[in-house]
């Protein structure tokens, strides 16, 4: 099993993509195949988390580290694979109700499955160039789902997404090449061993190139313009998957490379800078959310804001607080679930009330009280109200801020929470409480069963994390326990067993 395990998270969605590409003519079969694949991925993720990252790195092709490409699903990778699978299941389940994706383009599911493979690949790999390859897959599939809308609006979004992300991708490629040139290695462990040999000034500069490219992928200030320019054009279940996962891969890569692989050589000043970038990101993100009236745009800006929190945790982790790295993991997992669910529920609200625009809808609470409760769970979690998942995530970050005496960042974090509260309250006041502006409005008949089930499932996860946070905190702490300058890689002979 352990020979198979490290590649399963990639092979399952990849195989599903092939299978669904072969069954374009039967949308039902396509969805079933994709669901089967996602459930299999979920089972794999659960198993990986259950064994708690004890699977050793595997040199693919039988080539020993550092010569071939190694996959290594440690604690962090396993958790990320699990949450990715969960997102895929939720998105597909939601999709089967047809909300926002009816008629569904036959290629949507294969492309999404390819995207999932890209995401899990990035979480599985322990090789810098290979990481780049998975980013490429994510880029191309994201462009695909954006362009599937086909209208000029979608194409404009696609174009802006392409322009900035291509820049980020090229920068990433440049960084990978430069780092390879400077160290002679691509394998994470080998890089960790070789990096101290590079003069510190040069290493810092190389990490800046790498960092900037990943910050762009994460949606950090001032490189986030592609995100609000494009996300709101996607249909709800696709948006949930894209918005839940893609920026988080950038964040994961920053965490992995900054706090693990290059932890020994990354200068503290880099993390200081990251902290300020994070502060600006969280503030400007939430301000953007305060400006908008389209629920998808509001939520898209909240991604940026929350990314700021995670980046802050990464910065604190890089400045020497291992618990903060665990906080970043916890925060990421919580945020993926919550943000995806908010997009799903926004889709439901729009389906029932007729629009994503808060100025055109209302009366949801009176018509569907349970839907508003369903919305409240992720919304309050995003704000950080106890005992929901977001509260613990925030407490973990705040604790680290207090511990390190980062008072200005603390003020940013608290202020942004207030604005997040404002923003969620805005959705609540306008969509839920205010009577529908259309007199005599009746909620639309929507076949929403599976979509509601998906949203409830994710809300259940949020509640579970919130009520029993110990499990996930333990897992996050264990996941980053081995972070930092790794063991020396034997420079000896690899080769076939």
């Amino acid at each position: 099993m352990s020979v198979i395990a490290p590649v399963l998270p990639v092979l399952i969605p990849l195989g599903t993509a092939v299978a669904t590409a072969m069954t374009l003519r039967s949308p039902t079969l396509q969805l079933r195949l994709a669901m089967a694949g996602s459930v299999a991925l979920l089972a794999t993720g659960l198993w990986l988390v259950a064994v708690e990252g004890t699977i050793p790195p595997e040199g693919l092709g039988g080539w020993a580290v550092p010569f071939g490409i190694a996959f290594h699903l440690d604690g962090v990778g396993a958790l990320m694979v699990l949450v990715t699978a969960l997102m895929a299941v939720a998105s597909l389940l939601y999709m089967s109700s047809g909300i926002d994706t009816d008629p569904r383009h036959p290629l949507l599911v294969p492309v999404l499955m390819g995207m999932v493979a890209g995401v899990t690949g990035a979480f599985s790999t322990a090789d810098l160039f290979n990481l780049y390859v998975w980013f490429e897959i994510m880029l191309i599939t994201a462009l695909g789902v954006l362009a599937m809308g086909g209208t000029p609006r979608h194409l404009d979004a696609t174009w802006k997404y392409l322009g900035l992300n291509l820049f980020g991708t090229l920068l990433l490629l440049a960084a990978v090449g430069l780092i390879y040139g400077a160290t002679g290695h691509l394998n994470y462990d080998a890089l960790a061993s070789a990096a101290p040999g590079v003069p510190p000034g040069l290493m810092t500069a190389l990490l800046v190139v790498l960092g900037v490219s990943l910050l762009l992928k994460s949606g950090a200030f001032p490189l986030f313009a592609w995100l609000p320019a494009s996300y709101h054009t996607l249909p709800a279940p696709v948006l949930a998957l894209v918005a839940g996962l893609l920026t988080k891969v950038g964040v994961y890569a920053l965490l992995r490379l900054g706090n693990d692989v290059f932890a020994g050589v990354a200068a503290p000043v880099l993390f200081e800078a990251l902290g300020w970038v994070a502060a600006a990101t969280m503030l400007l993100g939430v301000i953007g959310a305060a400006y908008h009236w389209d629920m998808r745009r509001i939520l898209a800006f909240h991604i940026i804001s929350q990314i700021g929190y995670i980046l802050l945790a990464i910065a604190l982790g890089g400045l020497g607080d291992r618990d903060a790295s665990a906080a970043a993991v916890f925060y990421t997992l919580h945020h993926i679930v919550v943000k995806a669910n908010l997009f799903l529920i926004a889709g439901l609200i729009a389906a029932y009330a007729g629009s994503y625009d808060l100025r055109r809808i209302g009366g949801v609470h009176a018509a569907m009280p349970m839907l508003s409760v369903l919305f409240a769970i992720p919304a309050l979690s995003l704000v950080g109200i106890p005992p929901l998942s977001g509260f613990w995530a925030k407490v973990l970050v705040l604790q680290s801020l207090v511990e390190q005496g980062r008072w200005v960042w603390l003020v940013f974090a608290l202020g942004v929470s207030v604005l997040t509260l404002y923003s969620m309250m805005k959705i609540w006041l306008e969509a839920m409480w205010r009577p529908h502006p259309q007199a005599g409005w009746q909620r639309r008949a929507v076949r929403a069963g599976p979509a509601l089930a998906a949203a409830c499932m994710l809300a259940g996860v949020t509640l579970w994390i919130g009520l029993a946070p110990q499990t996930l905190i333990d897992l996050s702490l264990a996941a980053v326990a081995d972070f930092g300058p790794g063991v020396q890689v034997a420079d000896g002979q690899g080769g076939r067993p």
């Binding site: 020979v3 693919l60 290629l107 430069l178 190389l206 313009a225 009176a366």
Partner: protein
């Protein structure tokens, strides 16, 4: 305000709707607080305090379900459950028949539990949980009638203020947790008493103050409370008078044992409390709505409580307990009275009310009983509080203005009590009488009567609560104070004492009551001036400014101009690089300039020429050729860097690209000039691009200035033949050493085709007209040679694929050759015919099969327990020579097919509409 001016909005549907609850159902709801009250009373009479229970919750953070009930908690629990019973009973009648009654009961019950949790939690995180829960529930209760804009606005205001304060509280608590290494509240308080003030704990205290001041509506956060009166009366009586707003005072009292002697504590609490008491009470004069008048007096009382918490000495702690109790016993009934007046007379505006004793006699009695206590007349519990407070202020360390503020507060309190108890029921200065005022049902009359009556009973027998009050004081002090004798009725009636404590106040209060309307008119203008500068104005301005600022900032950042986004990204990258490049370059000895070989220079020149030409040229065909020049230049560079294999691949890729692009242009009749965008940012963009290129180049120079560690390439070179059985190292790297990268790349090819297909289909649909004109063009020569040529190219591509492992070639180049064959066929016979000739007859299936095969080629290794993508080799003896077979060839075949299907599919779709016979039905 608005709902006070028109009749009785709560009961609009009272007669028609039957969605309200039956009497039994109401009784069951009331049983909830009643059972809590019973438990609390049992605890008060039986249990030795404090009682504590604890169970781990989040050990990683030290958080546990820890509850601890001491005298202070007990007092709060008593208020929560006792007033709860009254409020639940009142709500049964008040909301009778209203469909929202169940919701109200549900929320009130949740609120009661949250309050009970907040006052008993002995873990700061747990405390914060309940604290936030009360804020959220308050939001929902204030907004109960959420179809009204003012209800929504008030709810929003209340939650924003208390939510902000909550976050400050959390920060303060976390600092204390950090400082004392525990989340246990009692341990933290004890630790504070031991350690004394430090800068950090003072900062924490300030943050906690913000939390408590917002919750208890202290200056300058006092403004939200009167606005929260948009809530139904039971909610106002419960949350905004008796319980939730006391939570801030409660938490301050909790910390009194720890920080009560700290200078920051005594100074700030006395100052803020006094301002709130005096100013809050004065603001009552600005109102005409009875409920809002009462709300201001609540604000002021909370201020007095804060002052008392801030005062040193056990007497003050005793006074805190007494005032907490007394206030609940008179203010809740007064709110009920306001609700009854609203219900019975249809308005709460005092100008339109008077002499209500005739129509509402029982409510009048309740108002009188509560008013007595509020005014602090002897034989009421209010008087007992007066006496105790008087003693509390006789200690040292009282700020000079505290007594003055207290005088203003008490005098106005008398006037407010008079307004509610006398003016409305026994007097009619407005001269307008509500025509159809009627008494309310028993359900609405009994609760105020009973609660206010209890205040009177306690005035006669203050001894009943001595133990309770001592318990409160004990919780607030490090040592429990000795036995205190509360004034007996006989002592209360001592004329000298009366004059000394309340006489002057009563006179002044009576004066204000009499001239209330006059004072209101006189003070309106100054009130308005202050209101413009006040915290509420600041809050409103901030709330109004937020969308404006957000709009400006967001439009500035997210302006929608793609090229400017790019420029910002480049500028940011440059700025980051500029900060680190100097040190990077200083770290290495820069290499000596070596003149490049002529070949290398040619390649570089080609790249540069191509790139510059792309910028300047406008003719589309020439543009494609110029772009191709960049690729060919790269190929030349590879060639002279000693990588002929890569160079060969690059040549093929570039050629195919040029062919495809040109073919598509012909198909779309898109030759001619490209449009030139007159973009003023072009020079800046050029400059930025140049700067970024220079910066990256500088970094590259710094990297190559150091010796390269060739461990990987050496290894590949040394084991390629003996272990991977291939002489072409490049191919072995692609299909074996780093096969998973290649798998990713063919996935990219396949997925990019899938991603582009919807767009291609749409594009083709929109250019159908052009295609019609183009249709019918045929190159006869091609028809003739296409057949043989197609086969020749395909065979060649297969040969290239097979020899790739040892000689230059491989699946990728083979696939590209196959694509050119397909292009040839498409030009000769049309895209559909070309696609039909593909394996599976479908480009999409072909490319999917390709990357599926590539991925599957790694699986057989598992049968032998080897890692994924470990290639297996076998030798088949053929007599003359042995044939080596391997999964490597399967993998490379996957590459071949994925490229053929993916890139071929692109071309077929772009060429799709070239021929007329392709027009019906799209390819794939």
């Amino acid at each position: 305000m608005a709902d006070a001016t028109h009749a009785d909005p709560d009961h609009a549907h009272a007669d028609t709707a039957h969605a309200g609850l039956s009497l039994v159902a109401c009784a069951l709801w009331i049983a909830l607080p009643a059972s809590v009250l019973a438990a609390v009373l049992w605890l008060a009479t039986h249990g030795p305090l404090p009682v504590a229970v604890s169970r781990d919750w989040v050990p990683a953070l030290g958080v546990s379900f820890a509850f601890r009930i001491d005298g202070l908690s007990l007092m709060m629990l008593l208020l929560i459950s006792g007033i709860g019973v009254a409020v639940f009973s009142y709500a049964g009648a008040y909301m009778a028949g209203d469909p929202k009654q169940v919701r109200l009961y549900g929320l009130l019950t949740a609120f009661m539990l949250a309050m009970a949790g907040a006052v008993t939690a002995d873990d700061v995180i747990l405390l914060f949980l309940f604290w936030e829960a009360t804020s959220i529930l308050s939001f929902l209760l204030v907004g109960l009638k959420h179809d009204k804009p003012e209800a929504r606005k008030s709810a929003q205001q209340a939650l924003l203020v208390t939510g902000t304060g909550g976050l400050a509280l959390l920060a303060g608590l976390l600092i204390l947790v950090q400082q004392f290494g525990t989340t246990q509240l009692s341990a933290i308080v004890a630790g504070m008493a031991d350690s004394g003030p430090t800068p950090l704990s003072n900062a924490a205290l300030l943050l906690i103050f913000v939390g408590c001041f917002t919750k208890s509506a202290q200056f300058p956060f006092h403004f939200w409370l009167p606005n929260a009166m948009a809530a139904p009366t039971p909610v106002s009586a419960y949350l905004h008078s008796a319980t939730m707003v006391k939570l801030g005072v409660f938490l301050l009292a909790r910390f009194d044992a720890g920080a009560g002697e700290w200078p920051l504590w005594t100074m700030l609490l006395q100052a803020v409390g006094s301002i709130t008491a005096a100013w809050g009470m004065t603001l009552a004069l600005s109102e005409r709505d009875l409920k809002r008048i009462l709300a201001w007096s609540t604000v002021a009382t909370l201020g007095t409580l804060v002052v008392l918490v801030g005062l040193p000495g056990p007497e003050a702690s005793l006074a805190v307990g007494s005032l907490l109790l007394a206030h609940a016993l008179y203010k809740a009934p007064l709110f009920f009275v306001a609700g009854n007046v609203d219900h019975g007379a249809g308005t709460r505006i005092i100008d339109n009310l008077g002499n209500l004793r005739r129509s509402m006699p029982l409510t009048a009695v309740a108002a009188a009983l509560a008013g007595l206590s509020m005014a602090g007349l002897p034989l009421s519990f209010g008087y007992v509080v007066k006496v105790v407070t008087y003693e509390a202020k006789a200690v040292e360390g009282v700020l000079t203005w505290v007594p003055l503020a207290n005088q203003i507060f008490t005098a106005l309190a008398v006037a407010v009590a008079g307004t509610a108890a006398i003016r409305l029921f026994w007097w009619n200065p407005g001269g307008v009488e509500a025509p159809a005022a009627h008494e309310c049902s028993w359900g609405m009359v009994l609760p105020p009567l009973v609660v206010a009556g209890a205040g009177l009973v306690l005035g006669f027998y203050p001894g009943i609560v001595t133990e309770l009050l001592l318990g409160v004081a004990g919780a607030m002090e490090t040592t429990r104070p000795g036995v205190v004798a509360l004034p007996t009725p006989a002592e209360q009636l001592n004329p000298a004492d009366i004059w000394g404590t309340v006489g002057a106040t009563l006179l002044a209060g009576g004066f204000i009551l009499y001239f209330w309307d006059f004072l209101h008119r006189v003070l309106m203008r100054p009130f308005a001036v202050v209101a413009r500068m006040g915290a509420r104005a600041f809050f409103d301005a901030s709330l109004a400014a937020l969308p404006r600022i957000a709009a400006r900032v967001t439009r500035g950042l997210q302006h929608g101009n793609g090229p400017r986004y790019m420029m910002l990204a480049v500028v940011a990258t440059l700025a980051a690089l500029a900060a680190v490049l100097p040190r990077a370059l200083a770290d290495v000895a820069l290499p000596v300039w070596e003149a490049p070989s002529a070949g290398l220079a040619t390649g570089v020149a080609m790249i540069v020429a191509g790139a510059v030409a792309v910028l300047l040229l406008r003719d589309r065909f020439v543009l494609i050729l110029a772009a191709g020049l960049v690729g060919y230049g790269s190929a030349v560079v590879f060639l002279f860097l000693g990588a002929p294999d890569v160079a060969f691949t690059q040549f093929v890729v570039e050629t195919v690209f040029v062919i495809i692009a040109a073919a598509v242009l012909i198909a779309l009749r898109g030759g001619g000039k490209a449009q030139v965008h007159a973009d003023r940012s072009m020079p800046v963009a050029l400059l930025l691009a140049g700067a970024l290129a220079s910066a990256v180049t500088a970094l590259l120079v710094a990297v190559i200035a150091r010796p390269f560690d060739p461990v990987l390439s050496d290894y590949f070179g040394s084991v390629s033949v003996p272990e991977a059985f291939g002489r072409n190292v490049v191919n072995v790297i692609l299909v074996d050493f780093r096969a998973v990268d290649t798998l990713g790349e063919i996935t990219v090819i396949a997925l990019s085709f899938m991603a582009a297909l919807p767009l291609l289909q749409r594009l083709m649909a929109s250019t159908a007209d052009i295609a019609t004109q183009a249709g019918g063009r045929r190159v006869v020569m091609l028809d003739v040679v296409a057949g043989p040529l197609y086969r020749v190219i395909l065979i060649a591509s297969i040969v290239v694929y097979f020899r790739g492992h040892n000689e230059p070639g491989g699946g990728f180049i083979g696939g590209l050759l196959a694509v050119t064959a397909t292009i040839l066929w498409a030009i000769a016979h049309g895209s559909r015919a070309a696609e039909a000739r593909l394996p599976f007859g479908n480009a999409l299936v072909l490319t999917a099969a390709g990357f599926g095969l590539g991925a599957a080629a790694g699986l057989p290794a598992w049968l032998y327990g080897l890692p994924y993508m470990t290639h297996l080799w076998a030798t088949i003896p053929l007599g003359i020579t042995d044939l080596k077979v391997s999964t490597v060839y399967l993998f490379d075949l996957g590459v071949y097919l994925a490229v053929w299907g993916g890139l071929g599919g692109y071309v077929l779709h772009l060429l799709g509409r070239m021929r007329q016979d392709d027009r019906e039905g799209s390819v794939t």
